[in-house]
Point group: D2
Chain length 437, copies 4
């Protein structure tokens, strides 16, 4: 083949990203921060095509809670594919989906006293959010949605309207703003009696706020800067939603599937949402999947009222069910999660002590944690140094000044220690070089 471009394929080791710059859209982002061509994953490690490896504290933005290519899931998937299991079934009944529904109910919902119908959505988190908004509006016959400051729920048009952290939304007059009321997340205003303020804004006669169809809340705001609210605040918000007869939608896309130490983050708060958006690690192996859990009384969908081609992708059902049974049937995994969370907590404290002048704050709930640094440039520099030292880690928050740590839930104690150690070294380097400027 004489084609010029084809020739390039012959020398892969000499390129990192040329093909992408030429052929992929400018919209790409992570690859600019971590500019290698990755090939393999094993447990807590990512490998690039030259065999170099990194500890992965990004975990596919929360979609790889059980690490890369867990052998139990891998084996199940290989067998399924070998046996010509059906791959995409739309919303036909399949053995894989049946097993997922059973595992979800037997392992997760029933033991927690929860009862939900599962809607399989187009396999992206944002589609579960779109479905929730639509259904809440249909059921309540209202349009307004109460969402929170620094929220992020997705990039499709409906989810974008309720994502206050998308400041570009503000800049662009090209999108419909939707009907949404943003209220302060716990601590946003820095004022006393924040909840009193919110309550008046939402319930006061003459407030101008139309009765909401729903409240949508990500209990720990991940993109928004790893913000962990108090139990008291959450309960007051939940009470407010109930008082207003608004549907309570909890977005567990990133916080769910054990990330915060319990299967659902809402378990920490002693609340029972009417709808729960679940995605990312629910498939357990990194493959696309998204479900909306619906209080049966609100499952007022008509047939086909919200559809999507890939909602019947069985690989995700299969590995998802397998993971539920493997990790969540007994109490061992939760215990190991708690131990990992404790180790992470100790590590964060230690970092905070050592770098008290450069770390503003650390936040943690289970294996979800954030380190808010002095500013965005330091954060960016620490990220870069981590990457050079073998650790992949993300930054979030309105000022992009917060490192978000999402280690695999299954990480070994040694690897967790190693990751924290790299982070310590990177912080030292970055602070030193900033001081030398």
């Amino acid at each position: 083949m004489s084609h010029a471009i084809a020739t390039k394929v012959l020398e892969p080791s000499h390129r990192t990203g040329e093909v992408f710059e030429q052929y992929e859209s400018n919209v790409r982002t992570y690859c600019r921060t971590f500019p290698k061509v990755f090939a393999r994953g094993e447990g807590s490690y990512l490998f690039d095509r030259d065999g170099e490896r990194w500890l992965d504290f990004l975990s596919g933005a929360g979609s790889l809670n059980y690490g890369h290519n867990h052998p139990v899931l891998k084996q199940a998937l290989l067998e399924y594919i070998q046996g010509d299991g059906i791959v995409n079934s739309l919303d036909l009944h399949t053995t894989a989906k049946e097993e997922f529904l059973l595992a979800l109910n037997e392992v997760v919902l029933h033991p927690r006293g929860l009862e939900y119908r599962a809607q399989f959505c187009g396999p992206t988190g944002t589609d579960a959010v779109e479905a929730a908004l639509k259904l809440a509006r249909k059921v309540t016959k209202r349009r307004n949605i109460v969402a929170f400051t620094n929220s992020y729920h997705g990039m499709s048009a409906g989810s974008m309207t309720i994502s206050s952290s998308l400041t570009r939304l503000s800049r662009e007059p090209y999108f419909d703003p939707g009907l949404v009321t943003f209220v302060p997340f716990d601590g946003f205003t820095g004022c006393d009696n924040e909840i009193g303020f919110v309550r008046r804004l939402l319930t006061g006669e003459g407030s101008g706020t139309p009765p909401p169809a729903a409240f949508i809340l990500e209990l720990v705001q991940c993109e928004g800067g790893v913000n962990v609210p108090s139990v008291e605040w959450v309960r007051q918000i939940v009470d407010l939603a109930a008082e207003l007869k608004a549907v309570l939608i909890i977005d567990e896309i990133q916080t769910g599937c054990g990330r915060t130490g319990k299967f659902f983050c809402f378990e920490h708060y002693g609340i029972i949402p009417q709808m729960v958006c679940v995605s990312k690690s629910i498939s357990a192996y990194g493959s696309p999947m998204s479900i909306l859990l619906i209080d049966p009384a609100l499952d007022q969908w008509e047939r086909a009222e919200h559809t999507g081609t890939f909602r019947g992708f069985t690989f995700s059902h299969l590995t998802g069910a397998k993971a539920l049974r493997h990790f969540w049937s007994g109490s061992d995994f939760i215990s190991s999660l708690a131990a990992n969370g404790d180790q992470l907590g100790v590590g964060l404290s230690s970092l905070k002590n050592e770098f008290s002048g450069h770390i503003r704050d650390t936040r943690q709930l289970g294996m979800l944690s954030g380190i808010k640094l002095l500013n965005a440039s330091l954060t960016k520099d620490v990220q870069r140094n981590c990457f050079e030292l073998g650790l992949i880690i993300e930054s979030v928050g309105p000022q992009r000044d917060t490192l978000k740590l999402l280690p695999p839930l299954t990480i070994s104690s040694e690897d967790l220690a190693a990751g924290l150690s790299i982070l310590r070294d990177a912080l030292r380097q970055s602070i030193r070089s900033q001081q030398n400027l």
Copy 2:
């Protein structure tokens, strides 16, 4: 385990759907028409858990153009999984994505003289549409979108605004209508000089139509009833978009990847869109994937301006690339496609002759075809009879009176004949039983 539900698992053969009724949302639809629990797929056949088989003329709503579990793709996927290939990479560079980009450019775009940047979207067709709308509005600094009657582009909020076939949109006052101008698709009004009307409506002084950011067009409307427009009409619409400096977005989600006899349906019409939405069979194996192809001059995205967790699902990149090289490198597959299309055409003609009183119309472009029957109840009955005789086939159109035939592109001549034969038998049965009423 004494759990009541768990017990049920032990007797799978006695149930068809009980688990789904109890645990899955009412929104489900296909499973009501084809009420079996499916387990395996091989080529053109689907098998339920009891081993019964059906010829599959639904093909995962167009996501399984190459049939079920094609051995070449299957082998590649198994090796990739065995080798612990990275599964979800967000938008990191991966070897799998690199190979996909190279295959896309070498096999599909360059030989056709096309130059596009690929944006990997949240892996649902609707997300490629959302991205296209957003980018077209950003680039043109306009908001209005021209879409067509009986259009369907997806269920997320942005796509829903431009999907005129979603009549429920009309019924519900709970969603933002967006800023969209629906114009008649070729033949919709039944009036002469339809294009003259459209032209005046869009360009006439005082028409009230804001200058559009984009035209979005599915060249053969699939959900809308398998409507095939004339070349002349399409070219006039394309000229109109150009005259109005509107971005031309072609939705190839269902029509692309060879379904109409060419890789892109737009090749039939001698046009070059500025954006192309591709999904469904682009992954080739039934796994989720969605890309937006963008004229490089319009690739004005800022980094991270449209994101999504599963846009880096490598299984789809891997099998997608493999399929492009395997099927589309030479001319054999296109020839076989043409032969299949011819056989299908002959079959449709024959059916039309035999059932001239009950078939209003047949439509076909390549391996995408529709049979418009006398009414919805006949159509439903034929579907049911087909299913009993071993053929799965969908109905579409505003009146749900059109059978949509989506056989695998790789179907053997014998299987295609068998499918058409079942259809003939089902028609006979249905007509007879209707006459007996």
Copy 3:
């Protein structure tokens, strides 16, 4: 008084517009075309402060159908003011409003077999339109409004959404587009079977048009270019509205009060609207007034659901009632209207004959007429020449190429002839000077 500005007041004859340029907003428009300072009006004539006079074919944009300061109305008004009649009563009962309601019902509605409730609106035409849209949406529980190409209904936000002739609406992304479907007015597309096209767009399954709350139609489009539709077209539109169970709103703001030869323009078309917007000449003396006539079955307003301070301005009620009784009780006025209309028609024909190369078209219904010239620059020039020769006349239409003639309905035969004669001279001059270029 030493104030610099005050001094200017002493020399009024030396200024034409200086005060306005300094103190009034740039938004002003008519005064740029007719740059004099006007002081008095008598019958068909306007006088500037220096005593120069003009025949007035503008008639306050249709608000002065009975000419300036008609002695009968003037006398009634003087007496009312002398007697300290209440001026603004909000929506309190007043003797003036009572008399208006009685006159309206006795003189106009009952003799025509019409039954309406009158809603007194904020005294601008646009407020009657706002009220109509609001009530139609409330009553039907729908949001979409069907409006027409080249429509104009006002400048407040609601009216603006349905005014397709406001091309600036299209250019500005700063306003909510509302939910409106614009369909072609009679003849807009120039295509055959326009009504068939509209019917399909509004009723066809899959058209994407939400069921409309209302159709709003100005029967003769005034700002839109004096477009007179056929009886057949109007009836088909009205039937279509009925079929769709949409409220039929007729905007008679400019066409009503005798302008087209009958009290309501809709009388020409043999239709009975469910809501009628009336303003401009309903007060008869040039003072602000606006009412919405409502089919009693649709008068589903709650108390105070649409209000406004000046809806109780009694001067307008008083002179309005007086005019109804004076002009419309017998048949003399209608006869004189017919005679005037005939004379105007003959005049237009004669002009069309003489200037066949420069007049594209003349349109007329009663005393509402338009002369569409070759282009906007000729039109502007004719306007200017008319003004110099003593005639005030407006231009309208999407290309501003149409002279709109609104002589007082009460104009004498001599004055009408004089006006037409000036118009002839102005046309001659303008054409000559254009030919000399």
Copy 4:
């Protein structure tokens, strides 16, 4: 005339409201509270058709600040009409408008160091608001508007979006919500540091609030319950608007023209708005008029970009100018205003003392005052008793529990005392009868 309805006219004294019930829309409201047919007005008194009189503390909802039919204005108007002054001039230059512009600048603006362009709007307050919103959006190229809780700015679609006191807006899904951010008016939440909340909500990163085109504020909320904010709060809000580069629009429709003791209410707060909406008493005689005062730098209107037929109603210009020169040229009127305000204040205190158990609060700024009673039923009863005792007085506020006192600014000391005395008697009666229940 034998017409049945006509007969009724002959016996007016036997009817109060029958004609209105039959012929006027259900939307009417004041006439239900004050069910007489009114005929005349003189100074502070209204007379019904039987000659019974009432002290008028409603003053045409603030449109009759100088009382009814003030002899100076009446004389000027009679002369103007006698002399056939032009009545409606659209936006042509007229002597009456010229004189109004001169008076406005010489008497009001220049002495206060203010410089504004006047835009003559459709003669309703809401149209000045519509114009302000439109222009602010055009100038800033932004869409969001910051408005306040319990705000009221009018009933047309644009004004309605920013009127939080219209709770029916919340109940109806049929209107576009627009893009508006409601923030608490001074004291609304009852929380400490309310301004700190507002500041964070509007400026905090991730707040989700798009940069506003404008803040619109009625300094003393009239419909909202006669809420008088602190100087400190107002200045902080104004600073916030400046910081956000948002246009500051002050709605002086009801508070202006001396109602609060100064010509503009904003003079109390030491601020200079960029746009000021003025209507109601600007015409001085009760006739419709509305202007938008615009900072010359923001007067970026194109010709005809906001129009309306009755913006050239000269009666209002004439009496408006006359009133400015008569009342506002020297300092006598302001002194008398102050004296009246003092007397009113003493009266309010006295009432509050006497009825401390039933009056929650009194509010006052100049001649604008409110008495917040225990509940709506008491308020309604007091209104009814006042009416029977000869005083017309309105109720406002989100709970309709606040009596709003708008005596004429020109009221004599005796009449003011008489009005307060009636109010005292009515309170006594109402409280007594409530206690007897």
